[in-house]
Subunit: 460 residues, 2 copies
């Protein structure tokens, strides 16, 4: 098929849903540094992880060797309800920009959770169910992960408690209602259901909570409840593994139409979408088969790649999780109230951090008013209302296409459209009303975060 | 393809998007009675309609002869951004119900407007633009139509003013924000921008408005503004014509998998979705090629088919529109605050009313708590969060499938899933909280509406 005959939406057949996830670590010449048990400062073992994660996921987290992991049939059956997701040729956007570039995007918002998060949620719920667990706990900030996991747990008949950051719980009652529709318990965090929550409430009864606090509560609840485990929607290696379906489908669809991207762009908070989207293309890069540019886009207000340190740090603000070596702003760094809640995380997937550190990946940071300008422009052209997180990738893709317009290059651009913005209209309204600010942390702000980094013997 | 090998989601190719809409009237042996000009009590002419509708749409409204109407290429180009919509086999729902029935649904919620309304919105915006009009006006209640039209007008660069029922304007700020994202003006109705609005405000400054009032304002604004016309998202013949894409695609997809529905189920407010979904199947019925059951589902709180009169009535509460003969509860009937705002309309498409009156179609009414039970059950199984309107069809489809379970019949059920419920979480919350009531009008309530029906000489 010639690229000018490409349909607007390229759907794979159901048979083309991947049968295996791709484990990027298997092709990395240099591995990410191991997670450390904070009590011993030694690499964590599966045994260390099993009280927190279910057995199969503890295994996947540490397995850097198995290149392809079979997707259980039950998970593929679930995937068939909303996958393959479409690869979309942005003809209308290209016309509006007047660019010679060809723009493609992989749209992961066509499911009720409204985002790519469901790809890992269903896997994590399935393994928990198969192990005979009695329930799961998790935290949610913006709410996409909480929604996706509630959907997956409902399908497998697994009880779920979601600790939702209190400020979100109060500001996003509709998100809460969707999660409740799928039968999950939603608890405003901090709460009086955990030691951690009670301690924080005692210190500051009026606190709106934080993701770090919600993680602490969810982990405590999981490890202190018989038959429960904790699950997380990003950052972890297992999550990137599951999310590889995004990239695998994208690559197959592009092959069907005779295309290969010159540049691949994804938004990056904890890295779940970016890691999944780029996986098979990064494989090409690591194995010398191709050399596409890979660009991570992060908010200027939370620039863990572009301005962070590559260092060992806690994954949570409460400093109870294992230490991971990653690009981080310091677990004590509190990002400003950027509307892309899903990108407000101090760290970044250790796999992506390593790849970035080793020069396999670029990163740019963008300011949120510029992001919303791109979001509105895109919505008008492509008729999809993007999530603020996804709009970071749109911003960078538009900028790339505009550079092509200047140079005349007919580049093929692929970006990830992770989800829809139906629950983010407060942010859109702030943009329409001119009430959106662009806070960029000063070097002094960042230094405070770096000062709180834990000391790890033997690591610079 | 055998029906047990049917994929979960059946997508047609882009080439299979219909090239022509199907005009059901061309195959009706008995035509619906003509619309009447209330000033003359004579059938309306295209000339009568042209001050209100653009020329092509005035023509389509009255054209009962042309069986197939070419879809302009510009509209097909837009359709390609979100069509063909998937026909989905509800395997998970079937399993959960334990029914031998095969359940299919045509899902029209996979576009930003979140509903099927976009199919007609793009057509109406296109014809207005082609005529060189300067702008459009419309009204919106639940907000699906306002969103869809804003999206279409934005694409064609056509200014739009949406009169949004004030109570919705205040209760659904996020709907308003989406419409504004697409660049449309949103005015809370009643407003001081029209005579009609000022009159109503003078009488009752605290009124929350009504769809009838919003229609009056939108029509007044259109006819009093140079180069403006008014557009409507349901009830009209032209809207059913455009919505025939739903049924045409459904029929093609079912043919591809060797299926034909025994029963076709759709929710019915003004009739836009139902009329579109059933069009080619009703053609089979009218021409004797097949005889599927066709079932309209309406709220028990607003039962225009099951308990209404087949009579001439105004299309609006303000009694300024032409008279249409239809199943109606009387233009003065004020439906209770059912959460399915899109089904709160006193009348029903004249085409569908005639078909129902002549025995080609069945109708059932359902209570809203039963509807939300079905919605939540469906969401958990099929992972799509349905709009309350769509959930009426789900309720009836589930009831049909449960009857098949009793009788052992392997019926093939097709229903229309018109949209998603992302902006209806207040309703879901009310359901979760047990705060939802089932109001059914008494015969005396209905009589009041019937008493207000206009007298039309020569019609019983």
């Amino acid at each position: 098929m010639k690229s000018n005959n490409v349909p607007h939406r390229i759907y794979l057949s159901e048979d083309q849903i991947p049968r295996q996830w791709y484990n990027l670590r298997a092709d990395m010449k240099e591995q990410p540094d191991p997670m450390l048990n904070p009590a011993t400062m030694r690499p964590v073992t599966e045994a260390d992880l099993r009280p927190v994660f279910c057995d199969e996921l503890a295994h996947q987290e540490l397995d850097a060797v198995t290149r392809y992991v079979d997707i259980p049939e039950e998970i593929r059956e679930f995937y068939k309800m909303y996958r393959p997701s479409p690869l979309i040729r942005a003809y209308s956007l290209e016309r509006a920009l007047g660019t010679p570039a060809k723009i493609y995007y992989k749209f992961e918002g066509n499911n009720t959770s409204g985002s790519h998060k469901l790809n890992s949620a269903v896997a994590q719920a399935y393994y928990a169910k198969r192990q005979g667990l009695r329930g799961l706990t998790t935290e949610t900030g913006a709410g996409q992960w909480g929604t996706a996991l509630a959907e997956a747990c409902s399908y497998f008949g697994l009880p779920l408690t979601v600790y939702m950051v209190k400020v979100s719980y109060n500001q996003k009652p509709f998100r809460k209602a969707v999660i409740q529709t799928f039968g999950a318990d939603v608890v405003a965090s901090p709460s009086d259901t955990t030691e951690a929550g009670r301690r924080i409430l005692a210190a500051d009864p009026e606190t709106g909570g934080s993701l770090g606090c919600a993680i602490s509560e969810a982990v405590e609840k999981a490890v202190s409840t018989e038959g429960y485990r904790y699950v997380l929607g990003s950052v972890l290696n297992q999550v990137l593994l599951h999310q590889s379906v995004i990239g695998l489908e994208s690559k197959t669809a592009m092959e069907m139409i005779g295309e290969y991207p010159d540049v691949i762009i994804g938004c990056a908070g904890g890295g779940s979408n970016l890691g999944g989207l780029i996986a098979p293309f990064m494989q090409d890069k690591l194995t010398g088969r191709a050399d596409p540019r890979i660009v991570a886009v992060e908010p200027a207000s939370c620039p863990s790649l572009t301005r962070g340190r590559y260092a060992y740090d806690f994954c949570d603000t409460g400093r109870i999780t294992p230490l991971a070596r990653m690009c981080t702003l310091g677990c004590g760094f509190i990002p400003s109230a950027n509307h892309a809640g899903g990108l407000r995380y101090h760290g970044m997937s250790p796999i992506l951090s390593k790849l970035y550190h080793d020069g396999y990946m670029e990163a740019v940071s963008v300011e949120q008013t510029k992001v919303f300008e791109a979001a509105v422009f895109f919505a008008k052209q492509e008729t999809i209302l993007p999530a603020p997180e996804s709009a970071h990738a749109i911003r960078a893709a538009i900028d790339e296409a505009l550079r092509c317009k200047e140079t005349g290059e007919e580049k093929t651009i692929l970006f990830g459209l992770t989800g829809t913005g139906y629950f983010d209209m407060t942010a859109y309204s702030a943009f329409h009303d001119g009430a959106m600010s662009d806070y960029i942390p000063t070097d002094a702000d960042l230094q405070k975060g770096f000062d709180g980094l834990p000391a790890v013997p033997g690591v610079r």
